[in-house]
Symmetry: C2
Subunit: 240 residues, 2 copies
Amino acid sequence: MSIVRKPFIFRQFYESMTSTYTYLIGCEKTRQAIIIDPVLETVDRDSKYIREMDLNLLYGINTHVHADHITGTSELRKLFPKMKSVLSPYSGGSADMFLDYDQPLKVGDLTFSFLSTPGHTNGCTTIVSDDLEACFTGDTLLIRGCGRTDFQGGSAEKLYRSITEKIFKLPDHYKVYPGHDYNGVHNSTIKEEKLFNPRLTRSLEQFIEIMNNLHLDHPKQIDRAVPANLKDGIIDNNRS
Amino acid sequence: MSIVRKPFIFRQFYESMTSTYTYLIGCEKTRQAIIIDPVLETVDRDSKYIREMDLNLLYGINTHVHADHITGTSELRKLFPKMKSVLSPYSGGSADMFLDYDQPLKVGDLTFSFLSTPGHTNGCTTIVSDDLEACFTGDTLLIRGCGRTDFQGGSAEKLYRSITEKIFKLPDHYKVYPGHDYNGVHNSTIKEEKLFNPRLTRSLEQFIEIMNNLHLDHPKQIDRAVPANLKDGIIDNNRS
């Protein structure tokens, strides 16, 4: 039996101010595409690639309501009017469409399925692609780390269960593409994170203690980013 | 016929000061590994991953004598004494071993072959992995760009021929992993660069004109980096 892989387009982009990764994924045959976690500041760059590659951008998916940057979905929709912004129904935010955890999303020949992985926020979602043998974990699972759990409905216990009971059940060789990395590392694998993630190789109790004692600074953009991202990245200037 | 892919370990790292990409590639079965274009400043990070993944680092390959950063091969060899530094015989620099353009390098179950791709410097090399369906182009081919040709024996004509007559003959779907990117884009494909690289979609004559009129600044670290990199990254403090 020959294994025929569906040809796909894949680009990982980086926004240096907030260390955010954005992913552009397309079906090579039909040119249908999605973008995951676009950033407002890099809409020009991202849209250049979408145009060059002649992609039909169908969905702009935010893995969650971000606190550290403003999503580019609102601006991208102006440039690509067919694009629907997509968010978890558990996020509390608005979007053109809410993702369905029971129903995979078809994008040309590619299929994306979704895991509800709360803990960093209630609406956090991990996007799984069997075609790419990869998952896009947003801020839930980071490389050798994980998202913080001290605001926006965060819960260390929920995060631990989301990662260990859902994400870590994916095949060992699946690539992990996170929402951020602060150390210049671009991707990992399920196996590596199971073995080497210093937080997730602990017990639930130890994990909760670690997360309760991180003493992190308040995210710089939170007061501007969260209200905007709850509205799909639309900035309400009357608020400021 | 079933296609059995050889399982491999792959990590793309980023050094933000010089926008350099470093690649760590290993054979999953034997744990033998290579590192491509390590940077002195990130030896701690890179060695942590090498140790965590229990890799037997055999080769530290520099795609060329860098002018913008000091290679980490000399420091890495102190930490991993079995590692041999590798460089092109056309580079004019010293190394533990010179690569053989006629002879693929075996690293566990993985095989790496080499293309001599002069133009940015005389010793520039593109590393090809059929197992990863990828090439590592150093500063020869960058994403939507290419390396400069105005110093260190650079030649716009040689660079154009290296890319169009050698790199662009690789399969269209092969991933292109460059030595740098200044725009937050991590990889490309041969097909995309053939179609969209604004410099390489021109004639040789147009390309030479573009390259002769870039008016780039002198690389900040060149006076320190080139002498050190000619000696495998060993800094001669008597010089300064």
